[in-house]
């Protein structure tokens, strides 16, 4: 059991980061904090992919006669794209928060929905 937990320590940590992100996202009413939570949640998935590609004892995937065991480079390549997507999402989210702040003069979700209901 202990061996199972220690052997998968990277996954446990990633799940922990993911849950912290999701919890922040759901529990905070401040829109900026929500975006921070979302960003953490995405980062956890990126870490998950990167740790998938690690092969114990494997080297960097450059063909050489001395080595026969390589780590899988594909997940890292995929995650470059996912990082770009994540940055774009966060940037768009912040742009929306700025517009919301201009329009409602608040970034608290509960205040904003109260204003929406009054209309």
């Amino acid at each position: 059991m202990i061996e199972y937990i220690v052997g998968h320590i990277n996954y446990w940590l990633i799940v922990a980061i993911m849950m912290v992100g999701l919890y922040t996202l759901m529990s905070r009413s401040n829109l900026v904090k929500k975006l921070a939570g979302l960003s953490m949640f995405q980062t956890a998935v990126i870490l998950f992919y990167v740790s998938l590609g690690k092969v114990t004892g494997g080297t960097v995937p450059i063909i050489s006669e001395q080595y026969s065991l390589y780590s899988n480079p594909l997940p890292q390549v995929l995650m470059l794209t996912a990082i770009v997507v994540g940055v774009a999402t966060t940037a768009l989210g912040f742009a929306l928060v700025i517009r919301i702040k201009e329009a409602y003069n608040s970034v608290e979700e509960n205040e904003i929905s109260a204003m929406d209901e009054k209309e």
Binding site: L22, L25, F41, V45, L52, V85, L92, L96
Partner: protein, 496 residues
């Protein structure tokens, strides 16, 4: 020939940045229309090529699958691409007069650029045969969608876009987790490759978890009950053009992804025993009743239509969770038919918004008598939504009922009938307010004096509306064309 498929992606991708740089609203509109028309022509041609069950295969950069990204187009891919590009054309036609009215002048080039990117993303989802590539296109279309929704006039559009951004990103990330699990189990991202080697790794727990993550993530994007909360606000607050395009395509394409995952990526007998069809069937039934009921409660036309979309998605979910050739055909057919009906109705709502500057049903009373042609087209589309014989809505409901009876699912039959009765209720609400209520002076807000906007419906808008309404009737009477495409797609999905 194969090169044509990639043009569907490359053309909008190249034109969108150019569009963003051109300062003229007319030129940007024209560019967008040309892009949509070229996409429509190419997807028609591809559908014609593959409808007999053959494939068009394109390997990106000449890398052989499973290493490279492969576009393997069968009739379902082509059918969905056709829906997306046809609806792009229709909303673009409508946009000519609507966009300058609703969007600041300096934002218009950016609006059209985002519109093209959204089209590109949706087409990409429809064509790609690589699940990670699919995620990237999903995010391209979603990011463009968030930006488009936030351009709505009302400040509520901003909050609608923000909550869609949060939920949409969660959905896409869930999908990404699922892809990661499946990649860990199979070592591949190519749909055909995973499907062909499925037996070698199907005993891993990971594969089941991957399925759940992917289905959950996509169900969120497809607004399947109870994951629909973002949809009503997003559709009703978005600019009219965006509302038309999204209601006709965004959820449909997500449903298509769900079909691919369930019927193509995973073998059918793998998930049939997982309670998944029963769960989805019951969710579909609840969605039909709940969506129709909430639509009936609404007093604002666009929100009413948005809730009705949730109900219609329910019908599609019912169709494909019956797991039969007929049910699947009905579901795929309804993708097309509902896209037609809902875009026509949203065009109608857009015209009312343009003329009267409101879509509150209470303020629109009696307006139908002033605008008989618009009103007639809205009524035609409304009848299709109910499922009156002779319209497209009837065709799908008929096949859906047949599929449910074939399986002996009487509760589903009752649900479909009840849903139609409720649909009569909410369509009647529109008709009653527009035509039968005594006329009230329309509130005119923010219309500059001497503006003729209130008096005449622009020709491009009427044209878009009537093309939509006529197609609703045409495909209702002339079912062979769409039925052949849908049943060929269903056959392609089921033969494994």
């Amino acid at each position: 020939m194969e090169q044509l498929t990639i043009l569907l992606i490359v053309i909008p991708l190249m034109v969108a940045p150019i569009t963003a740089l051109i300062p003229s609203e007319k030129v940007t509109w024209l560019l967008t229309l040309i892009v949509c028309l070229i996409s429509l022509a190419i997807s028609c041609y591809i559908l014609y090529e593959v409808i007999d069950g053959s494939h068009v295969i394109y390997e990106l950069g000449g890398w052989r699958p499973p290493w490279g990204i492969e576009y393997k187009i069968d009739s379902l891919n082509a059918f969905v691409a056709l829906i997306v590009s046809a609806m792009g054309c229709l909303s673009c036609l409508f946009a000519y007069r609507s966009v300058p009215d609703e969007i600041e002048e300096k934002m218009i080039p950016l609006f059209y650029a985002a519109f093209q990117l959204c089209l590109l993303g949706l087409l990409g989802i429809a064509l790609t045969g690589d699940i990670f590539n699919l995620f990237v296109f999903l995010e391209i279309s979603s990011l463009a969608t968030y930006a488009l929704i936030s351009m709505g006039k009302n400040r509520k559009a901003l909050t609608a876009a923000f909550s869609y951004l949060i939920l949409g990103t969660i959905g896409a990330t869930f999908f990404l987790i699922g892809v990661g699990f499946l990649f860990a189990a199979s070592g591949s991202l190519n749909t055909a490759d995973i499907a062909s080697r499925f037996d070698s790794f199907k005993d891993m727990q990971l594969v089941e978890t991957a399925l759940i993550f992917m289905v959950l993530g996509i169900a969120l994007k497809a607004a399947i009950f109870p994951l629909h909360s973002w949809l009503p606000n997003a559709y009703s607050q978005a600019p009219s053009t965006v509302g038309i395009f999204l209601s006709a395509t965004a959820t449909k394409v997500s449903i298509y992804v769900l079909l691919r995952i369930l019927y193509d990526l995973y073998p059918v007998d793998y998930w049939v025993n997982m309670l998944l069809p029963q769960i989805m069937l019951s969710l579909g039934c609840v969605a039909v009743i709940y969506g129709s009921y909430r639509a009936w409660q609404q007093t604002e036309m666009k929100r009413l239509l948005a809730f009705s979309s949730i109900a219609q998605i329910g019908y599609i979910v019912i169709g494909f969770s019956l797991v039969s050739q007929l049910g699947l055909t009905a579901a795929i057919l309804h993708l097309f038919n509902h896209a037609l009906i809902k875009s026509t109705l949203f065009i109608g709502a857009g015209i009312l918004l343009y003329r009267a500057n409101t879509t509150e049903l209470g303020s629109l009373r009696g307006l139908g008598r002033d605008m008989p042609w618009t009103f007639a087209a809205i009524t035609l589309a409304g009848l299709s939504l109910i499922g009156v014989p002779g319209t497209v809505g009837f065709v799908t409901k008929w096949y859906l009922l047949e599929a449910a009876v074939e399986k002996g699912m009487w509760i589903v039959v009752i649900t479909i009938v009840l849903g139609s009765v409720l649909a009569i209720g909410y369509v009647w609400k529109i008709v009653e307010n527009l035509y039968f209520r005594s006329k009230r002076k329309v509130h005119i807000q923010d219309v500059p004096s001497g503006d003729s906007a209130i008096a005449i419906t622009p020709k491009t808008m009427s044209a878009a509306l009537w093309i939509g309404a006529m197609l609703c009737i045409f495909f209702g009477l002339n079912t062979e064309l769409s039925f052949e495409a849908a049943s060929s797609a269903a056959t392609a999905l089921l033969k494994q």
